[in-house]
C-alpha cells in the first residue's frame, strides 16, 4: 500500500541512457556507423514491440499496482530504442555535415585567414617562457584561402598567444592568420587553428557582452581591494564563474578536495540565486506573474554575467529544471524533468555527451533528485538538525553518484570529499548570496559592494582552510578509466548499502 509519491518515475531514464550511449559511439566514430546503429536500434525496437503485442493482446494503461512483466519491459525498451534510433540519425546528420565541411578537405597545415566571432573567454593553457598560450572557441564567420572565401560553417577552436588575445570578450569579431589543423577532440569543432600573432579586431562586441565584461572587471577590482589575494581570486570564481584571477594553488587544492564543482559554473549557483530572488519577490508581495518575470530576469542576468557560453546554459538548465520541480512540490516529476532536460540538451548539442562537466552535473543532479530528499527526511526523522541533515544528505547523494565518474576521469578516490562538502555547505550559501548582492551593487553603490565583500572574508577563509587541509590528506589513487569507474561504483554502492541499513 504505497502512495503515488513513493514511485520513482524512471520512464525516460532508459531513453536517456540509450541516447547518451548512441551519442558517445556516434561522436567517436563516423556517420555511416551512426546510420547502421540507427537501423539496428530500429530493428530491435520493432522486435520488442512484437514481443509486447504477442504477450498482451489488450494493452491497458499502467497503474501503480502492476508488477514487472515481460510486456512492460518490451514497451519500455521499444520506446527507448525508437528514441535512440532517431537520435542516432540526427547525430549522423551532424557528423556528415562535419565531414563534408570544406575546411576538412583543405588539409592539415594549410594557411588561411579566418574571421571568427568568439564565443567564450580565452582560457590560458600553459606558459612558455613569457608567452602564455590560450585556447578560445569561436564561431566561424569566414575563411579566406587561395583567393576563395567560405562563409559560415561551424565552430572552431583557436590556439592563440596571450598577447592581444587574453583580454577579449565573447561576441568580439576578429580576423587572424592561422594554420589549419585537425580538431583534436570529438565535439563538432571543424578545425583547430594555430595563431601566432595578435588579432585584428573588427567592430566592437555586442553591448550586453561589454556591460557584462565591465561588471566582471569591476567586481574583480573590488574583491582585490577588499580581500586577501587568495580569497580575492576565489570570490568571483564562486559567484559568477570568473576564474581568471584564481590562483593555481587554490585550483589544485579544490581539485584534490573534491570541491571543483563549486567554482565551475553550475546549476547550484543559479538555483541559489533564483531562490533568493524568488523569496525577495515573495517578501515584496509581488503577484504571481511579476514573480515569474523577476525570476526570468534574474536567470537572464546571471547567464549574461557568467558568460552565455554553452556550459553556463546547460548548467542553467540543469539547475533550474529540477529545482523548479522540487520547489513547486512536484517531487515525483523532478526526475522526468531532469531526463527531459538532458534529452533536449543532447539533441541540441550532441557534443555534450563527451563533456565531463556535463556528465558530472547530470550525475550530481540525478543524485540530488533521487536520493537526497529521501535521506534528508530520514535524518530529520532521527532528530538531526535540519541544516545539517540537508548538508549531509546532499553531500552523500552527490558523492554516491559522482564518485565513479570522478574516479574514472581523474584516478583519485577520496571519500573524504563527503566531509569536506558537508563542512563547506553551510558557507557556500552565504558566500554566493552575499557575493551576488555585491556584484549587483558594483556599479550602483560601490562602498556598499565593498562592505558586502568584507562579509565574505571569514567564510572564504574557512573554505580555503578546509580545501587546503583535505588536499594534504592522502587519497586513494586508482587507475583512471573504466577500472576506476568500477572501483568508484563499488565504493559508492558500499556506502549506499550502509546508509540504507541505518
Amino acid at each position: 500500500m504505497t502512495a503515488p509519491e513513493q514511485h520513482l518515475d524512471v520512464r525516460l531514464v532508459p531513453a536517456v541512457c540509450c541516447c547518451w550511449a548512441v551519442a558517445i559511439v556516434g561522436l567517436s566514430t563516423s556517420w555511416p556507423v551512426c546510420l547502421a546503429a540507427a537501423a539496428v536500434l530500429l530493428a530491435v525496437a520493432l522486435l520488442a514491440r512484437r514481443v509486447d503485442t504477442a504477450h498482451s493482446p489488450v494493452h491497458v494503461g499502467n497503474t501503480a499496482r502492476r508488477g514487472v512483466g515481460v510486456r512492460r519491459c518490451g514497451v519500455a525498451v521499444s520506446g527507448a530504442l525508437l528514441l535512440a534510433s532517431g537520435f542516432s540519425v540526427s547525430v549522423a546528420v551532424r557528423e556528415h555535415a562535419l565531414a563534408a565541411h570544406p575546411l576538412a578537405q583543405l588539409g592539415d597545415g594549410a594557411r588561411v585567414t579566418v574571421t571568427v566571432v568568439l564565443t567564450d573567454d580565452p582560457k590560458p593553457v600553459r606558459q612558455r617562457g613569457h608567452n602564455r598560450e590560450a585556447i578560445v572557441t569561436g564561431a566561424l564567420a569566414s575563411v579566406y584561402h587561395g583567393g576563395n572565401r567560405i562563409d559560415g560553417g561551424g565552430r572552431v577552436r583557436l590556439l592563440v598567444p596571450g598577447a592581444g588575445w587574453l583580454g577579449l570578450i565573447p561576441g568580439q569579431r576578429v580576423r587572424a592568420h592561422a594554420v589549419l589543423g585537425h580538431p583534436r577532440s570529438h565535439d563538432f569543432t571543424v578545425a583547430l587553428l594555430r595563431v601566432t600573432e595578435p588579432p585584428e579586431l573588427i567592430g566592437p562586441a555586442p553591448w550586453w557582452q561589454r556591460v557584462a565584461g565591465a561588471v566582471r572587471h569591476r567586481f574583480a577590482q573590488i574583491t582585490n581591494r577588499a580581500l586577501w589575494p587568495d580569497e580575492a581570486g576565489l570570490l568571483p570564481a564562486l559567484v559568477i564563474g570568473d576564474m581568471s584571477a584564481e590562483p593555481d594553488r587554490v585550483t589544485a587544492d579544490f581539485g584534490a578536495a573534491g570541491l571543483t564543482h563549486l567554482t565551475a559554473v553550475s546549476g547550484e549557483n543559479l538555483s541559489i540565486f533564483v531562490s533568493v530572488v524568488e523569496r525577495l519577490a515573495g517578501a515584496a508581495a509581488l503577484g504571481r506573474r511579476m514573480k515569474i518575470m523577476a525570476v526570468l530576469l534574474a536567470i537572464g542576468t546571471f547567464v549574461v554575467l557568467a558568460r552565455p557560453s554553452p556550459s553556463v546554459l546547460r548548467a542553467a538548465v540543469m539547475g533550474v529544471v529540477p529545482m523548479l520541480a522540487l520547489a513547486t512540490g512536484r517531487t515525483r516529476q523532478a526526475l522526468p524533468a531532469l531526463c527531459g532536460a538532458v534529452l533536449v540538451l543532447l539533441v541540441l548539442f550532441p557534443a555534450l555527451a563527451l563533456d565531463r562537466g556535463f556528465a558530472l552535473s547530470v550525475a550530481a543532479t540525478a543524485g540530488l533528485v533521487v536520493l537526497a530528499s529521501d535521506w534528508e527526511e530520514r535524518l530529520k526523522a532521527r532528530r538531526w538538525p535540519a541544516k545539517l541533515a540537508e548538508a549531509v544528505a546532499v553531500a552523500f547523494a552527490a558523492f554516491v553518484t559522482t564518485e565513479p565518474l570522478v574516479a574514472a576521469f581523474s584516478g583519485r578516490l577520496s571519500p573524504i570529499s563527503i566531509v569536506t562538502n558537508c563542512a563547506v555547505h553551510i558557507t557556500i550559501w552565504g558566500i554566493t548570496v552575499v557575493g551576488l548582492i555585491a556584484a549587483a551593487l558594483t556599479w550602483v553603490w560601490t562602498p556598499a559592494a565593498v562592505a558586502a565583500v568584507h562579509f565574505t572574508a571569514l567564510p572564504l577563509w574557512w573554505l580555503l582552510f578546509v580545501a587546503h587541509l583535505s588536499a594534504k590528506l592522502p587519497a586513494v589513487s586508482v587507475p583512471s578509466g573504466f577500472v576506476g569507474a568500477v572501483v568508484g561504483a563499488t565504493v559508492a554502492s558500499i556506502g549506499l548499502l550502509a546508509a540504507r541499513r541505518r
Binding site: R72, L82, G86, T113
Partner: protein, 247 residues
Amino acid sequence: MAALNDNQPPWYSESAPRPLPRRAFPRLRFDPGRRGVAAMIVLSISAVLVSECMVQCDRPEPHSVPALPQPHQPGGTAAREPGGGPPAQIARTVAAPQELIVSVVGLVQHPGLVHVAAGARVTDALAAAGGPVAGADLLSLNLAQRLSDGDQILLGAAAAAATGVASSVNSGSAGGGSRPAAPSGPVNLNTATEQQLDALPGVGPATAAAIVAWRRSNGRFTDLDQLREIQGIGPAKLARLRPLVKV
C-alpha cells in the same frame, strides 16, 4: 500511512508517532505506455528535424571573391555564383579593371600602347599591335603568358637573339628592355620567374618554388596578404617584402 512532507506543521514531526520509513527501494514506474511510446517517436523525429535545421543554418557557403577586404581597395566586384564542392575547383575572378594598357615596342606593325581585355595574353597584345614583322624573335617570348596592366612587350630581332636584343616582357615600370634583366622596380608576383623570386631578400629557392606552386594551383595573386599562405612567409617577412613586390 502518508509520508512526511513539507506541508506538515512543525509540531507534527516532533510529537506524532514516527511512521515507518519508506520502502528500502522505491517502486519504479518505468512503463511509458502506448502514449509514451508515441511521444518518444514524435521526439525522435523532431530530433532529426532539429538537427537538419541546425546543420542547414550553419552550412558553409563557398564564394570566390576579388580580394581580401582592405580599407584602401576599391569596392570589389560582385562575387561570382558560389560553386558546390571543394573550393579548389571554383573559378577565379579577376580583380583588375576590365581593360589593360600594354606597351608593345620593337618589331611590330604598330608599336605603341594597346588596349587589351583583362586576362589577355601576349599573343593578344601582339595582335592588337598589328602582329610581328618579319624577322621578329618570337622564340624568347612566351606567347601564352598573361599580361598585367602596364607591361611592356619588346620584340627583338631573331638573328640577334643570341647576342643582341631579344624579346622580353617587362612588367610595370621596369627600365629599358635591352636585356631580360631583373626589373629594378617591384617584382610582379604573378609574372616573376622562380629566379626573380629567389633574388628577393629573405626568399630562398624553396619559398620561390612554393610561390610558383601557389600560383599554379590558385591562379593569380590578387592581394599581397595572400603571401601569408605560403609556407615560409610569416608576418615579419611579409613586412620586409611588401615594398619589393606587387600584384
